[in-house]
């Protein structure tokens, strides 16, 4: 008979962001128990609300299968007493022992029959340790010093194997068959079976399935015309057991404040969904999510509206107070804001950012004045009231203040956009000043940290340098900025290598290029990422053609031959030494190809190079490179070497991993 298993850990409200990882961990840990103890079955679901972590499994055996274990005794040469002692210890007659040959000689052994233990017993012994092992980023104790730790106090446990309680205890809480409904709307003590578990919860205002909670929220969000903000929906789904969305309104007079500020207050501080209106403005409405079923008297709506009004009033107060002072006047204040102990304050960082922004703007033939001004103002919003209160608005608010205070568009946009991209999914700054200032800011941070040895290792990256480098790479490629990576690395080879790592990651994960393609291009020493991008695009086009990979294989072969011969070309090919036939033909193909690819776009050039394949194949099939005549041999190596050096400038073909057989 196969049995279903249900475990519910009833706990005080678990932080929403920790729940999903904890469930994954539970699945793994429990699967390990099933495997280790040979209990059969599989975990069929893990579910959670803020107050319960639930694991369900099916197909468990009633008991472990019986086993036969070979118990080794003394060697066959041992005296009778030792053998008798072994038999006695095992509780069997001498006749039950067998001599068995092993690598070390013959040994007395006993085939012991071990009956399988009951699954219920095994689980009863394993579950307390299982609960204690579930990983949470920050745990607490609550039964007293040295007591067991969990994310929050555990208040009840349901553990049912086929509707029989599996008895165990954790932190003084004994397992049973009673769960608890919604804190306010449900009953506190509800006996359940496998069959009634989910429906009992549902009728007690607990929707166990997170997906159902998500859909309940998402449906209302979409109906209200708000953007389906998955992250916020997810957060709210794990903050509630019975999510019910409501809409509220606010005084349209607040719409005079920038939409960025209103949305941030709603999303980050109140977990409301803002509703976009026309012309970049918002509608004076919001969607909030309650953890109860309805709001018949409108009390919850009015409460939320009042809180929002107070927060908006704060926002308006900060906006007005901050605007009283020109942003540029705050530059001096940045002397009091530490950037990093060894790298000085934000005033000093700003000076470096300005210099770098000018340099970049000049290299890009962009407007250096706007870039420098935007870099100068970029950090000036750090000491404003608005950023002190709503940190996530940094940059954006500075840009808005700069706009209000009459800075030209390239400048205020430069400030506004300079933290972007904040993630791989985020888009890069739309304006060239924004791109330059963002790049200058990130590159300065990277250079500074690398100079003082703050280099990320493993998971340690306190200054988020990987993200900074990733953002820089994304800006350069997607902004089409023709810049030298070596220049950006400021002559620090470690930083250049660090940036290259991000380049590899970016082209592979964002653009789906293959490992070897990226390596082939980077191996040419390409230093301009826009150029790298063009070369990769060319490889992508030419790679599926029939000549490409075979030619790549031949280039690899050429490289090996040259390496084995330890050959370094000194002069050019001597036409007089060429043998008529495939060798002369290859030499001719080389000259012709060289002429044909000159000035051609990468993809055409690559296609032309690939079309040399028959000549190369013919050469290898019919010509002996290691000719007896040393001069002929050297001439042939020179020919091969020139092919490699002249035709591997777009991509190093020898880096291409050939998948098809020649």
């Amino acid at each position: 008979m196969s049995l279903p298993f249900l475990l519910e850990i009833g706990v005080e409200e678990v932080p929403d962001w920790m729940i999903v990882p904890a469930l994954d961990n539970m699945r793994e840990l429990f699967t390990a128990i099933l495997t280790e103890h040979r209990l059969g079955g599989t975990v069929t679901s893990v579910d959670a609300t803020p107050r319960r972590l639930v694991l369900r499994a099916e197909g468990l055996l009633e008991a472990q299968p019986d086993q036969t274990v070979t118990v080794s005794g003394p060697p066959a040469s041992a005296n009778e007493g030792a053998v008798a002692g072994f038999a006695k210890k095992q509780g069997v007659a001498l006749a039950d022992l067998k001599k068995v040959p092993t690598a070390k000689g013959n040994y007395w052994t006993f085939e012991k029959h071990v009956p399988g233990r009951k699954t219920a017993d095994v689980l009863a012994e394993s579950l307390a340790a299982f609960v204690g092992k579930i990983y949470f980023p920050k745990t607490m104790y609550w039964t007293g010093k040295g007591g067991p730790r969990f994310i929050r106090p555990i208040r009840w446990i349901v553990a049912l194997l086929n509707d029989t309680v599996v008895p165990f205890e954790f932190a003084g809480v004994a397992s049973g068959n009673t769960t608890s409904g919604h804190r306010i709307l449900g009953k506190p003590s509800l006996p359940v079976t496998h069959a009634t578990y989910e429906s009992t919860l549902e009728s007690n205002f607990v929707i166990l399935d997170a997906q159902k909670r998500i859909e309940r929220i998402a449906a209302a969000v979409e109906a209200a015309g708000a953007t389906r903000d998955e992250e916020l929906i997810h957060t709210l789904a794990y903050l509630t057991e019975y999510p019910t969305p409501i809409t509220g309104t606010f005084d349209p007079a607040f719409l005079e404040l920038p939409a960025e500020i209103l949305s941030t207050v709603m999303r980050h501080h109140q977990r409301y969904f803002a509703i976009p209106g026309e012309g970049g403005k918002l509608k004076p409405e919001f969607v909030a999510v309650m953890n109860i079923g309805s709001d018949p008297d409108g009390l919850v709506q009015r409460g939320n509206e009042r809180v929002l009004k107070a927060r908006f009033n704060d926002g308006r107060f900060f906006w007005n107070v901050d605007l009283k002072r020109p942003l540029a006047d705050r530059l001096e204040d940045l002397k009091n804001v530490t950037f990093q102990a060894k790298l000085g304050n934000y005033y000093e960082k700003t000076q470096r950012n300005i210099a770098l922004a000018k340099e970049l703007a000049a290299a890009l033939k962009a407007d250096t004045t706007s870039a420098a001004r935007a870099a100068e103002l970029a950090k000036c919003d750090l000491p404003t009231e608005m950023v002190k209160e709503f940190t996530e608005l940094q940059g954006v608010v500075g840009g808005l203040y700069a706009r209000e205070q009459g800075e030209p568009e390239p400048v205020w946009r430069g400030v506004y956009e300079h933290y972007r991209p904040v993630s791989m999914e985020d888009s890069i700054p739309a304006s060239i000043t924004g791109q330059i200032v963002s790049l200058a800011d990130k590159i300065d941070t990277l250079r500074g940290c690398f100079d003082i040895g703050l280099i990320p290792s493993g998971s340690k990256d306190p200054f988020a340098l990987r993200r900074a480098a990733q953002g820089a790479v994304k800006i350069i490629v997607e902004g089409g900025l023709r810049l030298s990576l070596t220049m950006l690395a400021g002559g620090n080879p470690q930083l250049r290598e660090f940036l290259l790592d991000r380049v590899r990651y970016y082209f592979r994960d964002v653009h789906g290029y293959k490992y070897d393609e990226v390596n082939a291009v980077l191996a040419t020493g390409a230093d301009d990422l826009v150029d790298v991008s063009l070369r990769l695009e060319a490889i992508r086009q030419v790679r599926p053609t029939e000549d490409f990979e075979p030619l790549a294989a031949s280039f690899k072969r050429i490289q090996n031959i040259l390496k084995q011969a330890e050959f370094k070309a000194t002069g050019d090919v001597d036409p007089a030494l060429l043998e008529a036939g495939p060798e002369a033909e290859l030499a001719a193909a080389r000259v012709e190809t060289k002429q044909r690819i000159a000035g051609k776009p990468y993809s055409e050039a690559l296609a032309i190079i690939a079309s040399m394949r028959p000549a190369v194949d013919d050469f290898f099939n019919k010509v002996l490179v290691n000719a007896p005549d040393e001069r002929v041999r050297r001439n042939r190596l020179t020919l091969l070497s020139s092919l490699l050096s002249e035709f591997s400038t777009i991509a190093d073909f020898s880096e291409i991993v050939v998948t098809t057989q020649q």
Binding site: K145, P153, I184, Y272, A310, N336
Partner: protein, 300 residues
């Protein structure tokens, strides 16, 4: 509708009925109810304790001259400590909201993660901010460590923000509109305090004098802590007086901060100075009251 003081009476009665000592506010400047000896020292050691009190709490930097409807330099906290925390603590807390007239079936309650930490006190705990219809009305914390000492019993600390809570109950949009007593508003009772407090804290407090005071308070606390080491009759030693100097340090630090006299770089150092004293008092307190318990870090 209950007036402000009526709500306070009801909460005190509610917790009194659940075995709490009802204390009066501590007679010194503190930044939060947690800093009062009734919390900071009582949570140490293995003795159970239950206490509730209103504590006017000063945050000089939050002052707004009485002009901001939601921000105060001095706000009133109702602080409850249940040590150890009973298993039904959250139910008890929710029932206390019922006791002041909040029908939870008609309101939205959420417990959102908010872990409390006081670097100056060497104290931290985990818990939630309790949201009522989107308004944070309570900070709930399970203390784990205080004065650098792991706690023997885990207390639950419930801190009600009284102004916010009562403004919600009375349905007013400004704290100053709260009806404090039947014939007096919050504005009538407290506005002068807010205005003058802000003027002093932001404009007139003399920075060099404050620094001098900080050094004097710190010196006196440290002198006493040094004396404690050799003091024969430990039971008699005035650790409570010592702790008061730590509180004075802390308040002076907050005043300097409000005056903008502390740079970001200095900040860390000053906090460490106050923490050293707070941790010193907590360890001495353990030694004075629970000499049998081995010192933290010492071999068991």
């Amino acid at each position: 509708m209950d007036v402000f003081q009526e709500t306070v009476f009801k909460l005190k009665k509610y917790w009194s009925d659940r075995g709490c000592v009802i204390q009066e506010p501590y007679d010194m400047e503190v930044g939060a109810g947690t800093m009062c000896p009734e919390t900071f020292l009582r949570v140490l050691g293995p003795d159970p304790y239950r206490v509730a009190y209103v504590q006017p709490s000063r945050r000089p930097a939050d002052g707004r001259y009485g002009e901001n409807p939601n921000r105060l330099y001095k706000h009133q906290q109702l602080q409850v400590i249940l040590k150890p925390s009973p298993d039904n603590i959250l139910d008890l807390y929710l029932q206390s909201l019922g006791a002041i007239g909040i029908d939870l079936r008609k309101h939205d309650i959420k417990f959102e993660e908010d872990n409390w930490e006081s670097p100056t006190l060497g104290a931290w705990g985990v818990g939630w901010q309790v949201m009522l219809d989107g308004l944070e009305i309570t900070q709930f914390t399970y203390f784990q460590q205080c004065g650098g000492v792991d706690l023997d019993l885990v207390p639950a600390e419930i801190t009600y923000g009284l102004e916010r809570l009562v403004a919600f109950l009375q349905g007013v949009e400004s704290i100053y509109e709260i009806q404090w007593a039947p014939t007096f508003t919050y504005e009538e009772v407290r506005l002068a305090d807010e205005l003058q407090g802000s003027v002093y804290n932001f404009e007139l407090a003399d920075v060099p004098t404050l620094w001098k005071m900080f050094d004097i308070f710190e010196g006196e606390a440290q002198r006493l802590l040094d004396l404690f080491v050799k003091y024969e009759e430990k039971k008699r030693f005035p650790l409570l007086a010592t702790y008061e100097y730590v509180l004075k340090c802390s308040n002076t630090f907050n005043l300097l901060d409000a005056r903008g006299a502390i740079s970001v770089t200095e900040r860390v150092g000053i906090i460490a100075r106050v923490r050293k004293l707070a941790v010193g008092v907590a360890h001495a307190w353990m030694q004075q009251n629970y000499p049998a318990i081995p010192k933290e870090g010492a071999a068991a």
